[in-house]
Subunit: 729 residues, 2 copies
Amino acid sequence: MRTYALIIALLSVYGIPLLLCAQQQKDKEKAAPISGQAVAQYCHVVPLPQEMRIGTGKFRLVSTATICVSGNGHTRIYGGASRFLRNLSDRTGLNFMIEGYVTPQDTIRSSPIQIFCRRAGKVVLGEDESYTLTITPQQIVLSAETDIGALRGLATLLQLVDSDAEGYFVPALTIYDKPRFAWRGLLLDVARHFFSADVVKKQLDLLEFVKANVLHLHLTDDQGFRIESKTYPKLHELGSDGQYYSQATVREIIQYADERGIRIVPEFDLPGHSTSWYIGYPEFSSGTGATFGGPYRIDRRWGRGSPVMNPIKEEVYQFLDVFFKEMSELFPDEYMHIGGDENNGEQWATNPDIQAFMRQNNLPTKAALQNYFNKRLLAILTKHGKKMMGWDEIFVEGVPKTVMIQSWQGREALYRAARQGYATILSNGYYLDLHEPTDRHYLNDPVPDSVKLSAEEKAMIVGGEACMWSEYINAANVDSRIWPRMAAIAERLWSSASVRDVDDMYRRLEHCSAWLEQLGSTHETNVAMMLRRLTGVHHDIQPLKTFVDVLETVKEYKRGQLLKFTYTTFYPLTGIADVARPDARVARNFRAQTAKYLTLLKKLTDAQKAIKGTTLAAADSSTYETLVATREFMLTWLRLWKSNHERLLPIIRANPRLADIEEHSLSLSLVAQLGIEAIDRLERGVIITPQWRYVAGIILERAKQPRAQTDIMIIPAIEQLVKATDGYK
Amino acid sequence: MRTYALIIALLSVYGIPLLLCAQQQKDKEKAAPISGQAVAQYCHVVPLPQEMRIGTGKFRLVSTATICVSGNGHTRIYGGASRFLRNLSDRTGLNFMIEGYVTPQDTIRSSPIQIFCRRAGKVVLGEDESYTLTITPQQIVLSAETDIGALRGLATLLQLVDSDAEGYFVPALTIYDKPRFAWRGLLLDVARHFFSADVVKKQLDLLEFVKANVLHLHLTDDQGFRIESKTYPKLHELGSDGQYYSQATVREIIQYADERGIRIVPEFDLPGHSTSWYIGYPEFSSGTGATFGGPYRIDRRWGRGSPVMNPIKEEVYQFLDVFFKEMSELFPDEYMHIGGDENNGEQWATNPDIQAFMRQNNLPTKAALQNYFNKRLLAILTKHGKKMMGWDEIFVEGVPKTVMIQSWQGREALYRAARQGYATILSNGYYLDLHEPTDRHYLNDPVPDSVKLSAEEKAMIVGGEACMWSEYINAANVDSRIWPRMAAIAERLWSSASVRDVDDMYRRLEHCSAWLEQLGSTHETNVAMMLRRLTGVHHDIQPLKTFVDVLETVKEYKRGQLLKFTYTTFYPLTGIADVARPDARVARNFRAQTAKYLTLLKKLTDAQKAIKGTTLAAADSSTYETLVATREFMLTWLRLWKSNHERLLPIIRANPRLADIEEHSLSLSLVAQLGIEAIDRLERGVIITPQWRYVAGIILERAKQPRAQTDIMIIPAIEQLVKATDGYK
């Protein structure tokens, strides 16, 4: 009802009779809200709004359109409205007559686009982000409790833009929208590979577009200390190879995020994952001897070293007090993330002083000692006005309830924290670096219906965060790892739990993906660039693209295993595994069509069996037509893949670094041939020989082995086809 | 001979007998250096080195390769060597075993890649940038007087990388190289549209690759004041919409440039082009009245306003003294560019105090008054240790000889300055915003053989600068306007005057372009992105790409005229004219093939006339074969263009903003049809009817009119074909 109060307030401002409003209220009661799947066909918006009513007619976009902002919103709404106009202009080519920016001076009451914010929003956890969007052929009215809600509404409005023969328009409709979870984040690891401020700001633009509201920066790790410290300058000077954010840059990023209603949550990973701290300050490590286990060097590999902060030295806490005071002043967010993960405890176990301290203080385990350290750190953070946040590992017996737990280990850890009354967010299942398909992340609900939690316990789960760890990414391919999958995660965290239609998500994601590209994401463009680098100037990229389009980088942590962990920070990220994108669309579509084909064929075969002596076509002609269309779709692709090897081979031969895909390309051609043969046998009912089956088996077995750190993603479909021939023994 | 001295020095360091060196010296005397065109076939390097000798064998690149730096170079060579390794790794996929950066500790004398710098280079005008590169199957030796020369050598080395069946290699050869001109620059206008530090740094990477050594930043203009001033903060606070470089960022950019041996030359355009200064400080303008002709606002258009600095107020010079002191401390380069162009003098003419001052001080003209202003400014710059630089307009009677003139108006202005003993650089003919073809810039020699200047006068012409004015560019298409054309200009300024083979330049430019893309330029990638934005998600971009590939944005200042100068800073730069690239390659090739075809046809027709009663084919069979191949090439394209309209039309209909290309697309199809018909008539000797000729004429006339601010660049070829049918009246 609050949104209605807003509309009423707004309408009164413009002197529009409340009668009209009452009428609208009545309309609302009459027409049942269209939601979930039913709404989908009308719009491409990601995340799908909570509630949506389709109106009549279209609001036409013209270059004379102006925007009027009223109410008491924060000034960030003017920047938001200006960006909205620029994006609209870029998309439609409309040269809006507003020459500069939308400003408080633009108060034309007759403006066709009206934005009303009741109060100034704060970029804090739990701020009201709801909005109401009412589009009629005459006017667009966006009203919200806060300017941040209004920004969310502008993101929706941009995605509603459509066109017909007459020009660009937005359809008449009404949307009532608000987020399901308050914490909708992305973690970007800037330690393993560093990303410039421009790359970070671009993520903020893209996050705003999908209504995410947290960018969590993993600022420090064994491989780098990525932020300037004025109190302890050797941290960034010696720990970063010069690749760090100055405090001025950090302020710029925070400001940029604030303008988009996005929180910046900094992470300083402690007591482990902290090699880069000790290059300048070895005395804070738990190493022993004159050099405290050093000299330390920036780690160029992963998971080798185990330096950990010394929890028994008072100097360490004095240092942390000064350092976190500085960082607390720099970062305005109420949360300070202290990491806390994966401390292997080796340096603690081998330091006699620490062992003695543990005995004296009744701290029998590594976890107990880490908890002691965390409690000391908590006191420091509290003193500087911050709430502490950390990974699962910090959640041990006796941790104060004010601590926020980020769960990477699994749902059980998440629910355990929630049951014990800790605020918590889910990251398990949202690891973008593991190359999982979009639907897997999408269906990963932090609070599924099935979960056994009370309402109060459920309320402790405040959201989720996708994690973009950066061992294998750089500026050239970071976007293709985050986007568009992040948009699906953002929808999971914003939209209703009932919005779970995977096909519709994929349909809308294509539109969203195009918008993301227009807003600066290079997830699509850089593929061509990377392919050109691999083929060289004398070759068309198409054969390599055809091949790469059915590949995905190996899942989970397999890439490191395949490389035998010899890779370093400088491993060239320019190979096939770096070009291949998660959730390869061509392969996904082919798998879906194959499943459909086999279902249709089963249905037809059953029908044929029922009518003795008939053909498949005669058994059920309409189903047969669909089968033929599906089969032809499949055969078109299979023939392309079958013949692709001979086109790709000269390119492989001309580029030594492509040598490792030769067998894979040959395999693709062979499994495509298998697919064609299987379809032929299935439909013609040819008897399968043991020889064919045997050869098919060994071809598939070899094709399934990863090459160039990638998998061929049509193989499951080919296996299904081959398996289906079992009936023709 | 100096380079030889270096090699001898280097060889002595490594204890290699001087005998071998003497042998090398003898070899040099024996083998004439291969240069110019002859070298071209061996290499793709841009700019082409001064002198090059081809050796025997190949130096194989392997991941165990290490680099050893010796001598007394500036530490920037370590960064350069590290970047070289990373770029090599990205290109070849070789995972070099050097885990971090090349450092002074890497002193392995047996390293296969040896870099020797005799002394530390300074990033100043005239620094020695020569280098010698000696590649044998065993070793790469790069030696240079300075580390900056060594950086230039690394750029060459990177471009020499090639591959064969065995892997990656560089061919054995020796290069002696040095620049022809000392000033090889790019002006980037960051005032009309602002570019982030990342975009600027990327230009520095690309400039280093083509051995350019100056980035001139046009920091202020009517449309924006793009740099933080701590002494007069209202300059950037009120004059930039928040789009400016902080001084910390400027220092980062200067540092980044220094690491690449590139000078940053700042420009503060005065006394005109300065509206943005007066928003915060109207009292420094020449306006009259209580508000000094203000209040001033950031200009969103071009060439409208005419505010100009007040040259008669002592407060102005006090201000300039403080301001330029601040800027002189910030920018280390010896030159400070004060603009000086296009002061229309309106504010001076209408200010009675200024008019009185002119009378009192015997300053009869606008030019005289501006010269008075410049002299005062010169004294200020001199006081702060800077040399003054400006556009042609500052070059008036009595200007001190220490001033550097940048010539935009034309060659005569350039030569006049040189004759009078002023150091000067050429920019006329290098304006990248005018959409001229590459060869035109390429053949624009600052000191052509024909010029009547003495050796001393020629020496005053110290180089040239390409200008990238930014009225119509933003981050998405700035690269496609600068690159790869800038590489050809860089070659003009580095390589010998005799290197003028346009075909070979274009051949090498394709390789260079691929490298530029790998180093971050988006000149190729963003085309696809921009086409996708125009076609929308449901359409293949190919038909639009086929169309755009023969278009160029209208030349010179025609775009503004077509838009009737109603466009603003916020005009959406996402249309066809923004996607189309200068020097459209497909059209250029087609024009070349058409010219070739007509020459061949003429030759054959003449031969046919000589032998009565024979056919074209029989008249000269080998020429005829070439004619057929050329004709088939042409017909393939013509048929594609002819049929493209029907494929493009549905895309145009689905995207209202493409409405303005419909007639152009139709024209392309019609002129392609004309080309097919003309070829048919030419070869079959069909009589041309007046009707056909008339219709051809009006089709071409319409097709030549710009649409969507673009021209169809195959029309000259079609006109030639149609004109050739004149013989068949």
